[in-house]
């Protein structure tokens, strides 16, 4: 259900990669070296159902990802997966939240136009009457120092 990225959506020179996603899914992504700075003072927020499919996004999410709200609702978050991000980071994320705990980390996200943006993300399980009904992620502006540390660390992971 996740479509490959389309050359006509991309702004600037791009490279291609094929991502191996969860459940054997594959996606061709096109990516550029253009970074969009994190908007000051804003939070990027999304919530999913218990299967991890997006059910709610805020305006900052739409603006930064370049997708419309309609394109995002019902999709998994790997629509933002950037080829420079190691799978190990997401294994850690899912292991943590499935265990009912909060995950925090630095993430490089891929935009629909092929560009990228860095965030400091916090993901928590949403518990209602003792049941996990979904997950929420709130992203905020990361410090450059932490981004640079993450770039170094992620290049050593797969």
């Amino acid at each position: 259900m996740l479509k490959d990225m389309q050359p006509e959506d991309i702004i600037g020179e791009y490279k291609e990669a094929v991502l191996n996603l969860y459940g054997g899914m594959k996606r061709k992504v096109l990516f550029t070296e253009i970074e969009t700075p994190y908007p000051d003072g804003k939070l990027i927020v999304s919530s999913t159902d218990s299967d991890g499919l997006i059910k709610k996004v805020n305006q900052a999410f739409v603006d930064m990802s370049c997708y419309t709200e309609e394109e995002l609702i019902g999709m998994p978050h790997c629509i933002l997966r950037h080829p420079d991000m190691p799978s190990a980071a997401y294994k850690d994320l899912w292991g943590t939240i499935l265990d009912g705990r909060t995950w925090q980390g630095y993430v490089k996200n891929l935009r629909k136009d092929g560009g990228y943006y860095w965030v400091k993300a916090t993901v928590i399980p949403n518990i209602r009457k003792g049941q996990v009904v979904g997950y929420t992620s709130v992203r905020r502006k990361p410090s450059r120092l932490k981004v640079n540390e993450s770039i170094k660390l992620y290049s050593t992971l797969s």
Partner: protein
């Protein structure tokens, strides 16, 4: 039976009489004895909540999680169209124009308002500042936060955006805003405790319609609100989840 009402200690001082008038109105409308008790600070208010002395509260979003999860409170309403936003400001003559350029060790003036301080600290994160790498200057009011900056006793101030906007033009002219948050989903809410919950719908309806009559509209005016807007359980749960992610 008398119920106890309290207002988060971060209310603007000139609204105090408004809250007393609101309390009188609410007593009349609900035909219940409701006593308004204002606590001098968040610690005193928390002690009252912990010992189950509070039945109705205009709560800071920072306290919402504890009120809902530990004390069984439910949301009623919020002031329509308003949210709690924070501002980071420096002296106009400060060469810094970007938060990222703020050096470690700087002096940060703030008040005790827990949600504003939290949002402010998050907005300082891009500069790698944490509570360990800055010098906090605790102030009683936002006017004092501004004064500390103007007198060069603080480098940065964390303001409630509304309080910053309400500073005099003379003061604002000497300050420079580095960032203003645009979060929109964090807000104070009027919340109701277990002992009053049988009346939840009745009180909610009274409040939602409060702007309908000229007389009660005046009371809203004195609180600085245009009207009350219903907050449902899921909106409150969402805000609590959000606060949880921000608190770490």
């Amino acid at each position: 039976m008398t119920f106890n009402f309290t207002v988060s200690p971060d209310f603007a001082p000139d609204r105090l009489s408004g809250w007393y008038i609101f309390n009188t109105w609410l007593q009349k409308q609900t035909d219940s004895a409701i006593h308004l008790e204002i606590y001098p600070d968040f610690a005193a208010q928390k002690a009252a909540i912990t010992s189950d002395k509070i039945d109705l509260i205009y709560a800071n979003p920072y306290d919402a999680a504890m009120l809902v999860r530990e004390k069984g409170f439910l949301p009623l309403v919020k002031s329509a169209g308003s949210s709690d936003e924070a501002i980071l400001a420096v002296h106009r003559d400060n060469a810094i124009i970007d938060v990222e350029a703020l050096p470690s060790g700087i002096r940060v003036a703030h008040t005790q308002d827990p949600d504003v301080r939290m949002i402010g600290m998050i907005m300082l994160e891009p500069s790698n500042l944490t509570s360990d790498t800055l010098q906090a200057i605790n102030c009683d009011t936002y006017i004092l936060v501004a004064k500390n900056i103007l007198q060069n006793k603080a480098d940065v101030g964390i303001f409630l955006a509304q309080a910053y906007d309400d500073l005099s033009d003379l003061v604002k002219k000497q300050l420079k805003v580095l960032v203003r948050s645009q979060i929109s989903v964090i807000h104070h809410s009027l919340m109701i405790g277990p002992k009053l919950q049988a009346k939840r719908e009745e009180i909610q309806n009274l409040l939602i319609n409060m702007h309908g009559s000229a007389k009660s509209k005046e009371i809203l005016d004195s609180l600085g609100f245009s009207c009350w807007q219903k907050v449902d359980d899921e909106e409150m749960e969402f805000m609590i989840d959000l606060m949880d992610t921000l608190a770490i």
